[in-house]
Symmetry: C2
Subunit: 404 residues, 2 copies
């Protein structure tokens, strides 16, 4: 009799979003006349920009005739896209990354979920707390997380790095040295950013200890301030210790198109092995390339028109972020994030717990947020709000919360 | 210092296709005047059918306005596609599969590579020999394959089921009972099919032993004979032991669009756990859904126009298969496959080894095949030819081989 992967059985229920949906549904059924505004989910709402639409139509037409039909894509992505990425996202910022160090994929969620596979099952993992749940769950599935401590709400083999008001939502270098360090900046869920100096400390720490940093910069397009790195490769020595994950989802509204990429420098070597080779082998064996038409859409994002158009959408969302931040602060709330990220981290008033405040917000303001505790124990006492909604609805939501 | 996944280091080089490319390149450089015909790769060449093109354009247009824009897809696929699949691929054939047992993905290669994750690392795996290399390599990566035996060309923890001329290229029930059994029918690379009676024996065997069958039916659309099952769920008891993998790649020319699906019946339970739940959790954690526009393209395949159009392409390829089979048989070659599959399994003359015959074919006929030994030791003495080429080029290739 075959056995299932016992690590899967340790997983916690995917409680957070199903519980939110349940509570919203119940409230909505009892109060059908109430207009609920959802600032909970991290999905974009603006349509794809015209340059991307045009590129898609053109690429689709190419598939209609034998002369221009494209079958299997190269495992690691088409050169036209890898060249454009290297040029615009890296060389233009002074980062030394070549096209053949870029692995095109169907998105950062897949990549950040799968990348752990190339490391030993014994590797000790460090994550920020609060954290994007995929980092933790995929390590539970592979047996690196240990056992779940119900009382503390943590896994006993994972090194948690609390990001709280006290440290400005910036993780501190852990005393127990991890092998694999997940960092996400600008951060989901707290919306905090990291300075180049602070990130350089992490790079130095990793190089000193032989650790590898998995740097998720899915939200880099939302950075508005100077001195905030868009890529970890802006730091010296990062080519020797860091893998970077990028996404077109939030940058260009591709949540429904699916496109992302992972960078592994050829100089990132552990135990005499280039991690680049391992990931190339994984990609070649378990993946068959992102669709040609989607890669052409990705290329269009970097054209002059595409660049202007995606910027308009980002500005639209960041105007929402400012409405939320300014409005809630004027009303006496304590908020952070929202300056270099589309997420606002709202402190619950008078130490109310996350779920209780979620309910209050739902019942009194008919606004849906995401309870911070759902992202980890240090998220307790917070609520995540997103800037991805409609502008007028966002203004209305803030007005309602302010009047509570 | 972090350690890499040591199982990855055991992997054999992806020798087969790079070696083919190298030999073709060398010959081509030395003989630039020769016109080489490639019947080696398994990629389609016909353009996407008009119904699919139209659906893609329509779906792209929907992404251009906020009212019809689609963001994150449901993890398991849109209902419109799952309903159509359940109706057309299963209920229409009398198979009891419901839409919520279908998991839409970016293709069968990803699914057949990832599915092993939900099973224990101790699971004993059985594969046909010759075999699609992904089944084996992904089990090497996860540590189930043991060590490679250089002399025999096999992994010592994998149970190989030889498919040879002697048994009509049909695997026999193994004496050592495996936990996980990979079956692919119609078969890649041999092009052989399995009868419903023979498949029923496998289902009974798996149910008796508590094994799970991973049934890859990526080529079912090429079946031309009666009595050959299109789905394993045509067999009694398969809902209790089988997972089925399907692909739009060969059926509808989606190799560059990426769409497939996996079926896990809710009644498939091992150790008290529904495998459906485990795969749902894997999909939800490490995958973010197939693109909306591609799922709409998939839906169009099942419309009356789409169905006629994909059938025209399949008929085109199967006409090639007949040209190859008939032509080579008339010339005195021994061939199999090509009746219910787009692959022809050509026995090398006079016991020549696969690579030597590959070279002869390349040098004397300027035709590229795939050496059978690249798919496993029992593939020695064979060459795989594919029916996915241009019709006229296929006729010319067969003429040249016949004249050798």
């Amino acid at each position: 009799m075959i056995e299932v992967n016992q690590n899967y059985l340790k997983l916690r229920g995917s409680y957070l979003f199903s519980e939110i949906a349940k509570r919203v549904r119940e409230y909505s059924t009892m109060n059908p006349e109430k207009k609920i505004i959802r600032l909970g989910i991290g999905d974009v709402t603006r349509p794809l920009p015209p340059a991307v639409i045009e590129a898609l139509h053109k690429a689709v037409d190419e598939q209609a005739s034998a002369e221009t039909f494209m079958g299997y894509a190269p495992d690691l992505g088409y050169e036209f896209l890898r060249n454009t990425i290297a040029e615009n996202d890296y060389r233009a910022r002074g980062c030394d990354i070549s096209p053949d160090e870029i692995f095109v994929s169907d998105g950062a969620k897949s990549d950040c979920g799968n990348i752990q596979e190339i490391f030993s099952e014994q590797a000790r993992v460090a994550v920020c707390d609060p954290v994007y749940p995929v980092y933790v769950d995929t390590n539970v599935m592979s047996g690196r997380a240990g056992s779940f401590d119900e009382a503390k709400g943590i896994w006993d083999r994972i090194i948690y790095m609390p990001c709280t008001e006290k440290n400005g939502f910036a993780p501190e270098l852990p005393t127990e040295v991890p092998d694999l360090i997940y960092l996400c900046f600008p951060n989901n869920p707290t919306g905090s950013a990291i300075t180049k100096e602070a990130l350089q400390e992490w790079v130095d720490y990793a190089n000193k200890n032989g650790s590898v940093i998995l740097y998720d910069s899915a939200y880099e397009a939302y950075i508005t301030e100077e001195g905030i790195p868009h890529s970890i490769y802006e730091c010296e020595g990062a080519r020797e210790c860091a893998i970077e994950l990028r996404s077109f989802s939030k940058k260009a509204g591709f949540t429904g198109l699916r496109l992302g990429y992972t960078v592994i420098p050829r100089s990132l070597v552990r135990g005499g092995v280039m991690l680049h080779s391992l990931w190339a082998r994984r990609h070649g064996t378990k993946y068959n390339g992102a669709p040609y038409i989607v890669q052409k859409a990705g290329e269009a994002v970097y054209t002059p028109e595409g660049d202007i158009q995606i910027r308009e959408n980002i500005d639209y969302y960041m105007r929402n972020a400012k409405v939320i931040t300014d409005g809630l602060m004027s009303a006496g709330h304590s908020v952070s994030g929202g300056i270099n990220a589309p997420y606002i981290w709202l402190k619950t008033p008078a130490g109310t717990d996350s779920w209780k405040f979620f309910d209050t917000l739902l019942h009194e303001a008919n606004v849906v947020g995401t309870p911070g505790v759902g992202f980890g124990p240090s998220g307790e006492g917070y609520l995540r709000l997103t800037a991805f909604g409609d502008y007028d609805a966002t203004i209305e939501a803030v007005r309602r919360i302010a009047e509570m």
